[in-house]
């Protein structure tokens, strides 16, 4: 529709962009096939040039993954969320310091333990000009919890925990009802973006997934799979949360998101000034970005905990002494220093320091090969232990580093690499003994990581871990409306987990972004979101 661009669009910059794209195809190893397929579509896409004003005023972001949908309710992908968050606002948002701020909600209050009443902002319109009302909130929540018959179930349902329904009180007041107390509902609402009922019902779910509209600072112009997602400024934007100034429409003319899955390609593109922001810079490449004359590094503490999991239900790790030996066999701190060049932080347990109820009293891990050997001897492995360390391809280097250090404690760990989904399925079936994996928890609340991994019936209990006390404490914490009571329960869980050792070798990597010097106001965020509302570009000299 808007594609009829000027011929002048085919500039050197354009040509360079395509060359980089071609490079991506050549360089893409694991994505060789997808790369080739994308390459076929690329030529077609190139013919549809972008509007010249959008190309000039837009900021270009290199994403590390492609998106499969743009429907806010139908994904579990941080990439989709980061893109869609610019198009669709939520009731609640987080600022750069990860403080919770009202966005489309003006305020909220609890009636009893299970009824949350949200007062909505007035005078807000969707990109098609229709007004935002309580009905849209009802529609959005109902769709996610599966309360609208005939629509496919949403993979984001569990992010709303025990929400059972909604109630429109008037055009700008809505109640959300939970089954039992759910103290963190407002925190969980940052993961849900409000969709317009009328537009959705008019175009249907498939078209909505291709071209969603929202109340956000940018509206979608086009999405070409494997190539780019283009959004432009929505001039009637209400300004976003009043607690995050400035409250006005976005400064950028638009944003162009490009999936460049290879880290090397993203960095080359940043260096060549073909993109302004490159997400997910590998730790060991970070120093290189600082050598670029026109770009710098933006750093945030990560929220994803990497860890070595041990299967407590199978030999050899059913013996607690063997698990403890693993803790002494390898210490994350020196490995993180040497192999991730300090771009990560060793942790005593599963929670990152930013997280709610992080227990500061847990002892730091210390490497002690002698103690590890002694424990193994007691457990009947006097000649050392032979194990397999399973991981997915992106963790291979770290797994090899761990295996290398473990050898010093008499543990011969053979690294085995799997495809991501393949490994995850095996872990869920509790088929692996020792594995390096990770769990993201951008909610920064223990409820997003501890129950799912460590409850006996946890969906991702990879460890065959069963502890009735932990189950009870987690259950109680889920229901406790008093934050201090919750925190106490979670601290106790952390201590039990530290004693039981279903996991060891915890660390969290920094989130690293390469950012062009012509970008101002962009900040790396722990939650991986890319809000572009306040970002601006210096004019090119």
């Amino acid at each position: 529709m808007r594609g009829v661009g000027s011929r002048g669009g085919h500039t050197r910059r354009d040509f360079l962009k395509r060359s980089v794209g071609a490079l991506a195809v050549v360089g893409a190893g694991p994505s060789l096939l997808t790369g080739l397929l994308a390459g076929c579509g690329r030529r077609q896409a190139g013919q549809r040039a972008l509007r010249a004003d959008l190309v000039r005023g837009a900021l270009s972001v290199a994403l590390d993954a492609d998106v499969q949908t743009l429907d806010p309710a139908m994904h579990r992908s941080r990439t989709v969320e980061a893109v869609v968050r610019n198009v669709c606002d939520g009731l609640v948002a987080r600022d750069a310091e990860m403080r919770y701020v009202p966005q489309l909600a003006e305020s909220w209050e609890l009636e009893g333990d299970t009824r949350w009443v949200f007062r909505l902002r007035k005078g807000v319109t969707f990109h098609d000009g229709s007004a935002f009302t309580a009905d849209d909130v009802k529609f959005t929540i109902d769709r996610i919890i599966g309360a609208i018959p005939g629509l496919p179930p949403s993979p984001r349902k569990d992010l709303l925990g025990p929400v059972t329904g909604t109630e429109v009180l008037d055009a700008h007041t809505v109640a959300i009802i939970t089954d039992g107390p759910y103290p963190i509902l407002h925190k969980k609402l940052v993961f849900q973006e409000i969709c317009p009922r009328a537009y959705f019902e008019e175009v249907g779910p498939d078209e909505f997934a291709r071209k969603p509209i929202g109340t956000g600072p940018f509206r979608l112009v086009e999405w070409i799979a494997g190539e780019r997602i283009v959004v432009e400024r929505f001039d009637e934007y209400y300004g976003g949360s009043p607690e995050v100034p400035p409250v006005e429409p976005a400064k950028l003319a638009g944003v162009i998101f490009r999936p460049l899955e290879e880290a090397a390609t993203r960095l080359v593109s940043l260096e060549a000034q073909e993109v302004d922001v490159a997400v997910n810079v590998p730790s060991d490449q970070a120093d290189r970005v600082d050598t670029f004359p026109t770009a710098h590094l933006s750093v945030a503490q990560g929220t994803r905990t990497h860890f070595v999991g041990l299967n407590c239900a199978r030999k050899p790790f059913s013996d607690r002494r063997v698990r403890e030996a693993m803790r002494h066999a390898v210490d994350p701190k020196p490995i993180v220093e040497q192999f991730l060049l300090g771009r990560a932080r060793a942790l005593p347990g599963m929670l990152v320091p930013m997280a709610f109820s992080y227990d500061e009293s847990l002892p730091e891990p210390r490497q002690d090969p002698g103690r590890a050997r002694a424990l193994l001897r007691q457990a009947g492995y006097a000649d050392g232990l032979e194990v397999t360390l399973d991981c997915e391809a992106t963790d291979k280097r770290m797994a090899e580093a761990i295996a290398g250090v473990m050898a010093g404690a008499g543990v011969r760990a053979e690294v085995r690499v799997w495809k991501k989904d393949n490994l995850l399925n095996q872990l869920r079936r509790q088929e692996r003994d020792m594995f390096l994996t990770s769990w993201g928890n951008s909610s920064l609340d223990p409820s997003g990581i501890l129950p799912v991994l460590f409850r006996s019936d946890g969906y991702s209990n990879f460890f065959g871990y069963r502890n009735g006390t932990v189950d009870r404490l987690l259950e109680e914490a889920d229901r406790a409306m008093d934050p201090e009571v919750r925190a106490r329960k979670y601290v106790e869980v952390q201590r039990i987990l530290h004693a039981d050792i279903p996991t060891c070798f915890h660390f969290a990597q920094e989130e690293l972004y390469g950012v062009s010097d012509r970008v101002s106001n962009f900040r790396a965020r722990p939650d991986g979101m890319l809000p572009m509302h306040d970002v601006s570009l210096a004019d090119e000299a």
Partner: protein, 299 residues
């Protein structure tokens, strides 16, 4: 490359003598040079444990991404530099030669044996066996090899047995087609008729009369297949689903070094060059061999 030896290239019984052929081969300088390079690689692989300066899996955290010795920052401890885990590249290259050649030889031998046996049986006995086998072969030929190998390896995870089977799965088809074609021609030849007339048994005719006469093109094909297998193994390892990570392999090394290719070019470049050099040499040697063994190429 496999098109260079097709089933319609019907062979006359071998005329040349062994010393004569050797002289022809020596006369081909390119082939000789290529042969020497291949021998060097084989020697490097065989002797890796003796000549590698370091344990190929030993990590030196204080020497991560050390450049080769002639670059500033390089050291004589690590002649070709180290990778992103501080492992010695030269040692890994030597051990990498070992696994590449070992897998190449193993897979070629398996495919040669299976393909030749089935091909000869089909060509000699014809009948239902030939009909069934030919359909099987047509089906396999329509199968994208690398995708199949990817599927097997993704399902089993990297392990050597699965890797050999994945690589051998389709490789025997080429040998089958050559063997069958040649046997088809040979079974009508005078020397076979003569042997039959003299009352020779079928096994003797097949193994004693026909096999020696059809073996030269199969040897040429085996050499050329070897190059393909080495490339395929490297490709699978590059994709992270070939040789297990604990065994140094060139494909894995190229893949590991890919992210660093701008900042630490040596990690991916040396193993990449090794693959190039070995495969090129095997191919050139194989072509030299074909010039000698294939009578139609003889000048």
């Amino acid at each position: 490359m496999s098109q260079s030896v097709t089933e319609d290239e019907i062979l006359a019984p071998v005329a040349g003598t062994a010393p004569g052929m050797l002289r022809l081969l020596v006369g081909n300088r390119v082939a000789v040079a290529a042969g020497i390079v291949v021998l060097l690689f084989v020697a490097a692989g065989l002797l890796a444990p003796a000549i590698a300066p370091h344990d190929p899996n030993l990590q030196d955290p204080s020497a991560i991404r050390v450049p080769p010795f002639w670059q500033s920052g390089g050291s004589s401890t690590y002649l070709l530099g180290t990778d992103s885990l501080g492992r010695d590249l030269l040692s890994r290259m030597l051990y990498g030669a070992r696994i590449s050649i070992l897998l190449g030889v193993a897979v070629v031998l398996i495919t040669l044996l299976v393909g030749t046996a089935l091909g000869m049986a089909a060509g000699y006995f014809r009948g239902w066996f030939d009909a069934v086998m030919s359909r099987v072969v047509d089906t396999l030929l329509a199968f994208p090899f690398l995708i199949f190998a990817l599927a097997i390896m993704a399902a089993t995870g990297p392990n050597l047995v699965a890797l050999v089977l994945a690589l051998a799965f389709k490789g025997w088809v080429d040998f089958y087609r050559v063997a069958r074609g040649d046997v088809l021609a040979a079974r009508e030849a005078d020397y076979v008729a003569a042997a039959r007339g003299l009352g020779a048994s079928t096994p003797y005719i097949l193994l004693g009369e026909i096999l020696p006469n059809i073996i030269p093109p199969l040897i040429v094909l085996a050499t050329l297949r070897m190059a393909t297998i080495i490339i395929a193994e490297a490709s699978l390892s590059f994709l992270g689903i070939g040789v297990p990570p604990s065994i140094p392999a060139w494909g894995t090394m190229v893949s590991d070094g890919r992210a660093d290719v701008v900042s630490a070019w040596w990690i991916a470049t040396f193993p990449g060059l090794a693959i190039l050099l070995l495969v090129l040499s095997v191919n050139l040697f194989g072509e030299g061999l074909r010039d000698v063994l294939d009578p139609r190429m003889r000048r």
